[in-house]
């Protein structure tokens, strides 16, 4: 076995071990499994959030966009920063509500706030449909990373099957705590890989970052300002996209749910303050994509630019290290996505629709069964229906972002009406689907999901105002 293979297999095995070990001696009820008993301090919350935010997209998509599209890739640096800023103001209130009412998931929030089981089911279904492609994206990315990282010795499909079955195992045993602990391995390896390669390749090939940019400006003058090499992604597109994805970020069911794991509001606020700094390593990932464009022009798939450049620049064992880091970078988000998809399906769809009398122990057993069912479905999808990386993510974002008005209005505006939020959500999803699948994205230069979100908000606020006309503002009608 070569050093590269040993590093890849060793990392995957160690991650699975740590993940399973993290849940030892814990009584696994739904509270411990999905929200870690609401006992996470700043370190675990940070690991969890960093764990789900830094996905294979960080490795492959961001550098791929830098390579293929140029400046529009900057949006990735921006939207996370906006999301953390919003989270500072929104999450503490959400956490408090979750603590008071024992909420586990995003649909739980909608049911509690708006008193509508139907709304909860709709939110759960949209959430699951958005999570599945995102989960599949992690697996497709994992396969690609390990295949290139092992120089073809481990075929993509074998890597996906091995790593994902182990991921399902630690989700099954340890729940959210497993994901947070595996994040330790993931973050150390990924930051090391990104720092070494991000500083390394511009220096090795050009003698420094500044010189690399000078060469790129000379060769492709428009690549580094909007719209770069993607004419449909001009400034207006970037602005609407970062607003959409910044607002949509915490609307992902798994990221939303993670907020409930914190021990206190203080932890959530502190985490929101420091998280933007964790965006800066993405800058280094972009350097790799830009350098690759100069050193390896004409790659068939831009998403391979990071790994191809590492392959050209470094010895095979280091390529193996990057492959291993990439694999665990896919495993952690995949585990959290799987956990929340399973809980949503068991608790917010099955229990809510078919078996309202089911006790928590039964929901817990069912959630675990769903880990296996959804895991198998995701495996089939990624083995037989793989797709391009970033587009999937953007479609998913259009969907989950439509929860934003319901969440923010529900938390901060007492007159918000259930009917308004429900109607806004339906309008938002409909408009996003029509525009995206009708190939009208971008629409008038704007991100189609943003157009949908704006209409959604107008409908939600409009109907709420209409229904509340003539009535004085009530004291805390929903949240309480």
């Amino acid at each position: 076995m070569t050093a590269a293979l040993a590093i890849i297999f060793g990392t995957i095995a160690l991650s699975a071990f740590v993940g399973v070990y993290a849940g030892r001696r814990m009584t696994m009820n739904l509270e411990n499994w999905t929200v870690g008993g609401r006992r996470f301090g700043i370190v675990l919350i940070w690991l969890l959030m960093a764990g789900e935010v830094y996905t294979t997209f960080t490795f492959l998509g961001a550098s791929g966009w830098a390579y293929g599209k140029g400046a529009p890739t900057y949006y990735i640096l921006i939207y996370g920063t906006l999301a953390y800023t919003l989270s500072y103001f929104i999450l503490p209130k959400l956490w408090r509500l979750g603590k008071r009412h024992g909420l586990h998931t995003q649909p739980d929030f909608f049911v509690k706030t708006y008193g509508s089981r139907a709304l909860g089911v709709v939110v759960a279904v949209i959430g699951i449909l958005s999570i599945l492609p995102y989960l599949q994206l992690q697996l497709t990315g994992l396969g690609m990373i390990v295949e290139i990282g092992s120089e073809g010795a481990i075929p993509s499909k074998a890597a996906i099957v091995l790593a994902f079955i182990l991921t399902c195992a630690f989700v099954y045993t340890s729940g959210i705590r497993g994901s947070a602990w595996v994040s330790v391995i993931k973050d150390v390896m990924m930051i090391a890989a990104v720092a070494i390669v991000g500083f390394g390749v511009p220096r090795i090939h050009f003698g420094g970052i500044g010189r690399m940019f000078k060469a790129l400006i000379a060769e492709k003058p428009g690549h580094l300002v909007f719209p770069g090499a993607a004419p449909s992604m001009d400034v207006l597109w970037v602005m609407s996209t970062v607003l959409l994805t910044g607002m949509g970020f915490y609307m992902w069911p798994h990221i939303f749910g993670s907020a409930f794991s914190a021990k206190s509001e203080r932890i959530i606020r502190r985490n929101a303050i420091i998280m933007p700094l964790y965006q800066l390593p993405i800058l280094l990932v972009l350097m790799v994509g830009f350098t690759a464009l100069l050193v390896l022009p004409g790659l068939k798939n831009p998403d391979t630019s990071f790994l191809s450049l590492v392959e050209k620049t470094y010895p095979p064992w280091f390529l193996g290290f990057v492959g291993a880091a990439g694999a665990v970078t896919a495993m952690v988000p995949a585990s959290i996505l799987l956990l929340f998809a399973s809980t949503l399906l068991a608790k917010n769809v099955y229990q809510a629709v078919f078996d309202p009398g089911a006790g928590e122990a039964k929901v817990m057993r069912l959630s675990r069964a769903m880990v296996i069912a959804i895991g198998a479905a995701a495996l089939v999808l990624s083995l037989y229906f793989p797709n391009a990386l970033v587009n999937l993510l953007l479609i998913g974002y259009d969907g989950v972002s439509q929860f934003f008005p319901g969440v923010v209005l529900g938390l901060f505006w007492k007159r918000t009406s259930r009917t308004g939020v429900f109607a806004g959500l339906i309008v938002g999803i409909a408009v996003a689907s029509i525009l995206v699948f009708g190939k009208h994205d971008p629409f008038l230069g704007l991100n189609a999901g943003f157009v949908a979100l704006a209409l959604n908000a107008v409908v939600a606020v409009g109907i709420s105002l209409w229904l509340a006309r003539g009535r004085p503002a009530k004291e805390s009608s929903h949240v309480g």
């Binding site: 400046a71 900057y74 640096l77 921006i78 920063t81 906006l82 953390y84 800023t85 919003l86 500072y88 103001f89 503490p92 209130k93 408090r96 420094g208 970052i209 500044g210 010189r211 940019f213 000078k214 400006i217 003058p221 580094l224 300002v225 909007f226 400034v235 970037v238 602005m239 970062v242 607003l243 509001e265 203080r266 606020r269 929101a272 303050i273 420091i274 933007p276 700094l277 965006q279 800066l280 800058l283 972009l286």
Partner: protein
Amino acid sequence: MRKWLARALGAVPFLMLVFALPFVNRVEPIILGLPFVLFWIAAWVALTPLALFLADRVGRKNRPPDGPEDP
């Protein structure tokens, strides 16, 4: 009052990283080796924790330091 000051600080990243973009979409001047627009974005990403830290300091004055917040 303090609440609104905190929210105004929270608006700074949105002003700089969204609404300022049309005005900074340039390669020149190159700063620290980065094209200007990329430098601008990276700088404001790095400054956002400072804005949030200040918002936290301002907003925290009406909360006990370690107790439950915004009761």
